[in-house]
C-alpha cells in the first residue's frame, strides 16, 4: 500500500460491531438524494413525460423485486414485508392517475410532480405521533428517490471489482445483503449500533465492522486507504506507512490469538482443579446461530424473544412464535436454550405505545404480560410446543416479587393443560427461571429461588436500579459502575441464596462477558455465564487457565475493597499479570 502524501491521517472512533482488522481501499457507497427541478413542459411533451414516468415505475419495481428475493433468502419473510409494501405503492393505480392528471393539468415535468405528490404523503406520515409512521415516512422517501433516480436514468452502484472496505452513511439490511455478494473487507458507517442488522450480518459473515462513526462517509473518497479495527472501534483514514505496518502486525497478532482460542473451541469451560462452568451465549437472531457454533458455545443462556418484534406491527401469533422457537431449539440441540419471555418496555419496544414518565420503573417485562394473559399464554404454549427435545427452558424478565412468579407458574400450568387437552406434545418438566435484575428480587432471591429451577442475574438493569443511575443519561452515566462494591456484594448474595435452595445461578448481563470480571465471578460461585458470542472464546480461555481455589481467594480479596476504583485497579493488575496477551475487546460495552 502506498502512502498518500496529500491527505492527512484522520482517526475516528466508533462502535466495534464485528471483530477483526482490515486494511484496504474505500468503496464509498452513496445513496445520493436526487434533486428535482420544477420545469414547465409543452402540451406535446406530456405523453412522453408520462411514458418516462411509467418506465421509471417499472424499473423501480424490478429493482425492488430483486432485492426482495435476496432479502427473503437472507433475512427471512417477516422482515422483508417493508419491501413488499413499497412494491404495492408502485402499483397504486390511484397514485399513478393523480401523477398523470397533474402532469396534464399543471404542465410540469414528471420528476417534479412525483416528488411533490409523494412528498405530501410523507409530510402527513411525519405528522403522526408515532415512531412506526415515521419509519414508514422514511420508506416512502426511499421509494420516491428510487423512482426519481430511475427517471434520471442514474444507477446505484453496488458492485465493485476489487476487494474493498465499504463506507456508507447507513446500511439497510438490503444493502448489507447486496454487498455480501462482493469481496467486502469491512464495513464502516456513520450510523448504526451493535444490534443493527448490518452488525449481526457482518459478525455472521466474519467481516470486520465499525459502526456509528458520525460523519465518516462525508470525509472519505473512493480509493482512499483506510484501516478499520473491529476490536477497538478505531478507524484510520489515510494512515501513514508506520500506522499501516503497526496495524498489519496487530492484525497478525490477533489472528494468532484467535487461532489459539480456536484450539479450545470444543473443550469444556473447566478450571484446572476441575470446577465446571457452563458457558453459553446470548442471541437474538437466527443468523447468529452459525457464529455461535463457530465460537464453541455450549448453548444459549439467553434468547431475547422480543427480537421477533423488531420491524413488526403486531405481536407474532402462537404458530409464528412456535416456528421460530422450534428452529432455534433444533439448531441448538443437544445443548440447552433458555428462552426469555418478551422483555418489552423501558427503552425497548412496547406493544402499545403508552406515555410513561418513568418507563424504566413502569410497565415492562413480566408486568405487561401478567396484564395481558392471552398474549402470555400464546407465548408459553409456543415455547412448550418447541420443548419436545427437552432442551428448552423458560426465563421471566423484570421479576420484582415472588407473587409474579407464582402467577406466571399458574399461567404456565394453564398453557400445559390446554396443550394436553389437545394432545399436543411438550416437555412436562420444562425448567423455569427468574431473571434477577430488580433490587427487590435480589434481596428476596432466596424466596424466589424456592419457586424456580434457576436464577439468572441481569447485571445491566440490576446495576442501574441498585445505584439509581440511568446509564443512558450522560449527566450521571459515569456513576453507572458494574464493579461498584454494592453490585459485587449483591451478586454474591444472589449466588449464595440460589445455592442454599440447591438452584444454579447464571448471569446474562454484560458483566458476564467482561474478561475483567471472569475470575471474580468464578470465585463467587457463579455456575453459568451467558455472553455475547464474540467474547466467548476469551472467557473460556480464562476459565481454563485458573484454579477455582485461587478464584475464591481473589473474590474474598475483592470483597474487602471499598471503592469501585480499588476493585477495578485490583482486577486490572491481576489480569495484566496473569494474562499478558489478553485482548480486551470493547464489544461487550
Amino acid at each position: 500500500m502506498i502512502e498518500d502524501r496529500h491527505k492527512p491521517e484522520i482517526i475516528f472512533k466508533g462502535i466495534p460491531a464485528a471483530p477483526g482488522i482490515s486494511i484496504g481501499k474505500v468503496f464509498l457507497y452513496v445513496k445520493d438524494i436526487p434533486t428535482t427541478v420544477e420545469k414547465v413542459i409543452r402540451p406535446e411533451e406530456v405523453e412522453n413525460e408520462i411514458q418516462k414516468l411509467k418506465d421509471a415505475l417499472k424499473r423501480s419495481e424490478k429493482e425492488l423485486q430483486k432485492i426482495l428475493s435476496f432479502a427473503q433468502e437472507k433475512i427471512g419473510e417477516g422482515k422483508s414485508k417493508i419491501l413488499e409494501a413499497q412494491i404495492m405503492i408502485l402499483r397504486d393505480q390511484f397514485l399513478l392517475k393523480s401523477f398523470e392528471k397533474r402532469i396534464r393539468s399543471e404542465l410540469r415535468n414528471a420528476e417534479y410532480i412525483v416528488s411533490d405528490e409523494i412528498g405530501k404523503y410523507e409530510k402527513m406520515m411525519l405528522m403522526a405521533q408515532d415512531d412506526y409512521m415515521h419509519e414508514r415516512a422514511h420508506d416512502v422517501d426511499d421509494l420516491k428517490n428510487r423512482i426519481i433516480r430511475n427517471m434520471q436514468q442514474t444507477k446505484l452502484i453496488s458492485k465493485f471489482d476489487e476487494a474493498a472496505i465499504v463506507v456508507a452513511h447507513n446500511l439497510t439490511p438490503a444493502d448489507t445483503v447486496i454487498f455480501s455478494r462482493n469481496t467486502v473487507l469491512g464495513y464502516a458507517t456513520d450510523r448504526g449500533g451493535i444490534t443493527s442488522h448490518a452488525a449481526i450480518l457482518s459478525r455472521a459473515l466474519k467481516i470486520p465492522a465499525v459502526l456509528g462513526l458520525g460523519d465518516i462517509s462525508r470525509r472519505v473518497s473512493n480509493g482512499d486507504t483506510i484501516i478499520i479495527d473491529g476490536y477497538s472501534g478505531i478507524v484510520i483514514l489515510n494512515p501513514s506507512l508506520e500506522q499501516q505496518t503497526k496495524y498489519q502486525a496487530k492484525k497478525e497478532k490477533y489472528l494468532q490469538h484467535e487461532a489459539k482460542l480456536a484450539q479450545i473451541k470444543n473443550l469444556p469451560a473447566v478450571t484446572i482443579d476441575n470446577h465446571k462452568i457452563e458457558l453459553s451465549a446470548n442471541i437474538e437472531f437466527e443468523e447468529e446461530i452459525e457464529y455461535l457454533h463457530m465460537q464453541g458455545s455450549q448453548g444459549v443462556g439467553l434468547f431475547r424473544s422480543e427480537s421477533m418484534l423488531i420491524n413488526r406491527e403486531s405481536i407474532p401469533t402462537e404458530e409464528e412464535q412456535y416456528q421460530v422457537y422450534k428452529l432455534f431449539a433444533e439448531r441448538i440441540y443437544p445443548n440447552r436454550i433458555i428462552i426469555r419471555t418478551f422483555d418489552v418496555g423501558g427503552d425497548k419496544i412496547a406493544p402499545n405505545t403508552i406515555e410513561e414518565a418513568n418507563p424504566f420503573l413502569g410497565w415492562r417485562g413480566i408486568r405487561i404480560f401478567l396484564d395481558h394473559k392471552d398474549l402470555f399464554l400464546d407465548q408459553l404454549r409456543a415455547i412448550l410446543r418447541a420443548s419436545t427435545r427437552k432442551n428448552v427452558a423458560i426465563m421471566f424478565p423484570m421479576v420484582s416479587t415472588v407473587e409474579e412468579i407464582l402467577e406466571a407458574k399458574k399461567i404456565l400450568e394453564k398453557a400445559k393443560s390446554q396443550l394436553k387437552a389437545k394432545k399436543i406434545k411438550f416437555d412436562p418438566n420444562i425448567k423455569i427461571g427468574a431473571m434477577i435484575e430488580v433490587p427487590s428480587a435480589a434481596v428476596a432471591a432466596d424466596i424466589i429461588a424456592q419457586e424456580v429451577d434457576f436464577l439468572s442475574i441481569g447485571t445491566n438493569d440490576l446495576t442501574q436500579y441498585l445505584l439509581a443511575v440511568d446509564r443512558g443519561n450522560n449527566v450521571v452515566s459515569s456513576l453507572y459502575q458494574e464493579f461498584h462494591p454494592s453490585v459485587i456484594r449483591t451478586i454474591k448474595y444472589i449466588i449464595e441464596a440460589g445455592h442454599k435452595g440447591n438452584k444454579w445461578v447464571g448471569m446474562c448481563g454484560e458483566l458476564a462477558g467482561n474478561p475483567l470480571a471472569t475470575v471474580l465471578l468464578v470465585g463467587l460461585g457463579l455456575d453459568e455465564f451467558s455472553v455475547i458470542p464474540t467474547i466467548l472464546p476469551e472467557i473460556k480461555r480464562i476459565i481454563r487457565a485458573i484454579k477455582y481455589s485461587d478464584a475464591k481467594l481473589l473474590a474474598s480479596e475483592v470483597l474487602k475493597l471499598t471503592t469501585t476504583e480499588e476493585i477495578l485497579r485490583f482486577l486490572k493488575t491481576y489480569l495484566q499479570k496473569n494474562f499478558k496477551d489478553i485482548i480486551i475487546n470493547n464489544n461487550n460495552k
Binding site: 414485508k81 404495492m88 397504486d92 390511484f94 397514485l95 404523503y121 402527513m124 406520515m125 416512502v140 403486531s314
Partner: protein, 88 residues
C-alpha cells in the same frame, strides 16, 4: 351514495397488511370509495393513502361509497372491518 361509520378492531390498526387487504377489496367494485378521518379525505383505493391514515385500534372512520354498486361495496368493506381484518 352510502355512508358508514366503522371502528378499527384489530390490535395493530390499519397497518400495511390490512391496508393492502382493504384496497384489494375496494378495487373489486366500480364505485368510488373515500375514507374520512380527522378532517383528512383519502381515496380508499390507494394503498399509499390508506397507509398514511395511520389509523390505530379504536379509531373511528367514515366510509363513503358512490357508484352503481355502492351497496355491495359498502357491505364487503364493512365486513372486513367487522372481522378486524382477520387478525384481532
Amino acid at each position: 351514495m352510502v355512508e358508514v361509520e366503522v371502528v378499527i378492531k384489530n390490535k395493530a390498526g390499519l397497518h400495511t397488511r390490512p391496508a393492502a387487504n382493504l384496497v384489494k377489496t375496494a378495487a373489486k367494485f366500480k364505485s368510488d370509495f373515500f375514507i374520512y378521518k380527522d378532517g383528512f379525505e383519502i381515496n380508499g383505493k390507494s394503498i399509499i393513502g390508506v397507509m398514511t391514515l395511520a389509523a390505530e385500534q379504536g379509531a373511528k372512520l367514515l366510509l363513503r361509497f358512490d357508484g352503481e354498486d355502492e351497496q355491495e361495496a359498502a357491505r364487503a368493506v364493512c365486513e372486513l372491518f367487522e372481522r378486524g381484518f382477520d387478525e384481532v
